[in-house]
């Protein structure tokens, strides 16, 4: 035996090792192949980017520059991304008058265009529920009602992110990719989110959306006025949500859904300003919040006229 092995030069053991190593290497190469294609889509800078709250201003400028270049490369659009911070002494509040909402869904449409949503999926942060008068069972609210509206036996309830003061979505996020800003907005760092969708499950208002695909928007329809935490074009595989149009409202402007509302059933403003319209509504109307018993403490109020 020993003589034979010596004569062939390669032992049986070496051959088996060789085969094993080759198969192992092949399997490893196959296993990491998706990583290679993923790395091609993502730059080193993007991979190493810090959490929003840890980015220094000059780092943020670099990130914004990169995102603007990406938008140009991927969509051919010239966009301006800003990162306006929360204004001191401002806490945003929203109220909606159910007595005059006619259910026209123009708010949902305005949201779709303002926030650069994927055109094919028709995504919007606002869902309008049609319910029979005398009931308030939002779990059975009809979403795909057809016109003409308003029907005499129904009322209409647009539901979007309630910007809770005790947000369950923030509590469940395993990576702190979503948090509460000083002006009350629950924000998402789209570059930090891992897309686990825990927050979507945790939200009792169905206010969070997942980017199943890379959003497709024609170049000329892209809204170039973008905010880092709000309506910039989101990557595939991350969560997104209503930000009360942070890119507009932090500049003092009204949110897009309010401007689109033909009846004026939406009231927006600063809860800390006693002279504001929203405060007048809270002090003079019969106001309620959705699912109060859950203790989420929404900043979004509904009211009826007398």
């Amino acid at each position: 035996m020993t003589e034979e092995n010596k004569s062939s030069g390669i032992s049986r053991r070496t051959v088996v090792k060789g085969i094993g190593a080759t198969l192992g290497a092949a399997a490893f190469a196959k296993a990491i192949a998706p990583l290679a294609s993923w790395a091609a889509d993502q730059s080193i800078d993007e991979f190493l980017q810090k959490h929003y709250t840890e980015l220094k201003p000059e780092q943020m400028q670099k990130v914004i520059k990169r995102l603007e270049e990406d938008a140009k490369k991927d969509y051919g659009a010239d966009v301006q991304i800003t990162d306006t911070k929360a204004q001191l002494g401002v806490k945003f509040g929203y109220a909606l008058n159910l007595s005059i909402c006619v259910g026209c869904r123009k708010c949902a449409q305005a949201c779709h265009y303002e926030n650069n949503h994927d055109r094919a999926s028709g995504n919007s942060y606002i869902r309008v529920l049609e319910m029979k008068k005398g009931s308030l069972d939002i779990e059975h609210g009809k979403v795909d009602y057809k016109g003409p509206v308003p029907k005499s036996d129904s009322f209409y309830m647009p539901v979007q992110c309630q910007q809770c003061d005790n947000p369950p979505c923030v509590d469940v996020c395993p990576v702190e990719a979503t948090w509460k800003e000083k002006d009350g907005i629950v924000a998402v760092d789209y570059n930090w989110c891992i897309g686990c969708r825990y927050c979507e499950a945790a939200c009792p208002y169905h206010a969070r959306r997942f980017n199943w695909t890379k959003p497709e928007i024609p170049k000329e329809e892209i809204n170039p006025v973008q905010g880092y935490l709000s309506n910039r074009i989101r990557p595939q595989g991350v969560m997104e949500k209503c930000t009360f149009c942070m890119h507009k409202t932090r500049e003092g402007k009204l949110p897009a859904c309010l401007e689109a509302c033909p009846t004026g059933s939406r009231v927006f403003g600063n809860l800390l300003d006693p002279e504001s319209e929203i405060r007048w509504v809270l002090e003079n109307k019969r106001v309620f919040v959705l699912k109060e018993e859950l203790g989420t403490k929404p900043s979004f109020y509904y009211f009826f006229d007398e």
């Binding site: 001191l88 002494g89 401002v90 109220a95 008058n97 005059i100 006619v102 259910g103 026209c104 869904r105 123009k106 949902a108 449409q109 779709h112 999926s121 028709g122 995504n123 919007s124 869902r127 309008v128 779990e139 009809k142 979403v143 795909d144 009602y145 057809k146 016109g147 003409p148 509206v149 308003p150 003061d165 005790n166 509590d171 169905h206 409202t249 003092g252 402007k253 009204l254 309010l258 401007e259 509302c261 033909p262 009846t263 004026g264 009231v267 927006f268 403003g269 600063n270 800390l272 300003d273 504001s276 319209e277 007048w280 509504v281 003079n284 109307k285 203790g295 403490k297 006229d305 007398e306």
Partner: protein
């Protein structure tokens, strides 16, 4: 049985661990409740010195009607007073259907009001308030407010009627709609409309499959 000298420090450490973990769990779970319900002592630093304007758009101009006065078949725009100064008001005619000529196609669905409830018989280029004083067409909202007090109150407090522009008037102006932009004065009920933007989202798919949630 002799107590081990380690029992006392061990008990202290165990109690400390229980308290610390209890505090940690409380902080993780319930502190946000307390934080949220605590009164916010945030100093309001808004600059209120500058107030941009709120413009009301869409107020009606003094109206005209198309009329063929020359019998030539060519209609011209004429002011209300062109005809109405030469005719005396027919106070018994309260509906457009009662009229023999002019304004016949007009649809009036506004309670039991008659023409002269709002129009001024002394000067048809103006309107008339309930106290008899004239008011220009540009200030129609004063007229509407006489009966629709709650709506006018809501409007003046920013919770009725569409608007555009800035919530923060110290940073920019705002535009608001006049009553007549949405409400036809002769038939003011807001019309029914076909909703835009049919939803395609996942909640809808669930509904279609027969289990709402």
């Amino acid at each position: 049985m002799k107590a081990s000298p380690l029992i006392a420090p061990a008990t202290i450490v165990a109690v400390a661990i229980v308290f610390a973990s209890g505090w940690w769990i409380y902080q993780r779970s319930f502190a946000s409740f307390q934080e949220a319900s605590a009164p916010a002592n945030i100093e309001v630093t808004l600059d209120k010195s500058i107030r941009h304007e709120v413009t009301i758009q869409g107020t009606p101009a003094t109206p005209t009607v198309l009329a063929d006065l020359s019998k030539s078949g060519r209609q011209t725009e004429v002011a209300c007073t062109t005809c109405h100064t030469t005719r005396s008001p027919q106070t018994d005619q309260k509906l457009p259907e009662d009229l023999d000529e002019f304004h016949q196609g007009l649809k009036k669905q506004h309670g039991s009001l008659s023409c002269l409830s709002c129009h001024n018989a002394d000067n048809y280029d103006t309107l008339r308030l309930a106290d008899g004083s004239a008011v220009s067409f540009e200030n129609t909202m004063q007229l509407c407010a006489q009966c629709h007090g709650p709506q006018f109150r809501d409007y003046t407090n920013g919770s009725h009627g569409g608007m555009n522009g800035y919530w923060d008037l110290s940073r920019g102006p705002r535009t608001r709609n006049a009553c007549n932009v949405c409400h036809d004065p002769h038939a003011p009920a807001y019309p029914q409309l076909i909703p835009v933007f049919p939803p395609k989202d996942i909640e809808l798919i669930k509904q279609k499959q027969g289990h709402p949630h």
